[in-house]
């Protein structure tokens, strides 16, 4: 008789409880791998811990390899779009500032510099203060 772990159909759950999209649900597509550690390795006692010489690596565990925060990627694209728009605005402001300065409107040129500085702060914020990356 095969080991229970090799009979995955017994561990397949039919209830479609998880509302998450299949591609974002944590865990493996093989339900037998989603059992708690104690079921997967009955030889390991709850007290074994990492002191157990049979445990060489902690392993990836359930949820490994899936996107933990599916919106993270879209957020990154969004931040990039913000920074690119800011840079386009800065190039425009630089053009305006150079023209103003060449025409003798020094104060206008300084206003443009102020605008550039504020834009840079926005770009800096979009760059630094994103959601924490894994």
């Amino acid at each position: 008789m095969a080991h229970p772990a090799d009979r995955p159909e017994e561990f397949r759950s039919d209830s479609a409880l998880g509302a998450a999209a299949p591609w974002s649900a944590p865990g493996s597509v093989q339900p037998r791998l989603n059992r708690p550690v104690a079921d997967r390795y009955p030889q390991i006692r709850p007290t074994s811990g990492y002191g157990d010489s049979r445990i060489r690596r902690s392993g990836p565990g359930p949820g490994a390899g899936t996107d933990h925060d599916p919106e993270r990627s879209a957020m990154l694209t969004g931040r990039l779009v913000v920074v690119l728009s800011v840079v386009v605005g800065q190039l425009w402001a630089l053009g305006v500032g150079v023209d103003a300065w060449m025409q003798g409107h020094t104060s206008t040129a300084w206003w443009c510099t102020g605008f550039e500085g504020l834009s840079f702060l926005i770009a800096l914020a979009a760059w630094r203060f994103g959601p924490t990356d894994h």
Partner: protein
């Protein structure tokens, strides 16, 4: 590692394996470096943004050379030509030998002077009498053109009008260059500004220049 240290076959293959693993790890690292991820791009663009701020500060602080900014000592009157007939133009250098300029007598007798350094990418501007209603200052580099009365852009990519050179005519008919203006600055305003600068406000006191919205 040499063979002497690892004479055994088994040891040799172990060394080979480690070396291969090392190599593949290095390869992984190199190929990861060659990809520009969105996160890298974000960092690069944020840096570019900071560079633009530095550039803008430099521009406002005045690192670029500007026509009309010549030190008062440089702006000495210069005799351009003894006589300029209608429809004639003459090129000269003013206020320094590196500043190319042109003096033109339009058909109606008006005397105008301009820097001939294009405001687009600094090519030499040419006087073309056959263009436009009264002739045009034409830049062959990217087909920019300026009208001859105020130096305003009438065609092409130049972002600003041509800076004027202030000209004066003596009773004997000789034409003199007496000052320089900024791009798009009126002759009156430029003359007033330079007078104020030369005088340091001692004799004239600071005269409020016309259109002095300019700072």
């Amino acid at each position: 590692m040499t063979d002497e240290q690892h004479p055994g076959d088994a040891d040799g293959s172990a060394v080979d394996e480690t070396a291969a693993e090392e190599r593949s790890r290095l390869q992984d690292r190199l190929s990861a470096d060659s990809l520009t991820s969105r996160r890298d791009y974000l960092r690069v663009m944020a840096t570019v943004s900071g560079g633009l701020v530095v550039g803008s500060v430099a521009v406002s602080a005045g690192v670029l050379p500007r026509h009309g900014d010549a030190a008062a000592a440089d702006v000495q009157p210069l005799k351009v030509v003894d006589r300029l007939r209608r429809g004639q133009a003459v090129t000269f250098a003013y206020p320094t030998e590196h500043d190319r300029a042109i003096a033109i007598r339009l058909q109606d007798g008006t005397l105008v002077g301009y820097s001939t350094v294009c405001t687009h990418l600094a090519c030499g501007v040419l006087w073309r009498e056959d263009r436009g209603a009264e002739g045009e200052l034409y830049c062959p580099c990217h087909e920019g053109a300026f009208e001859p009365r105020e130096g305003a852009v009438v065609q092409g990519p130049p972002p600003r009008g041509l800076p004027k050179v202030l000209l004066a005519e003596r009773t004997d008919g000789s034409v003199w260059a007496i000052g320089t203006a900024y791009s798009d600055e009126s002759r009156l305003h430029a003359a007033c500004r330079e007078l104020n600068a030369k005088d340091s406000g001692v004799r004239l006191g600071h005269v409020a220049c016309p259109n002095s919205a300019r700072s």
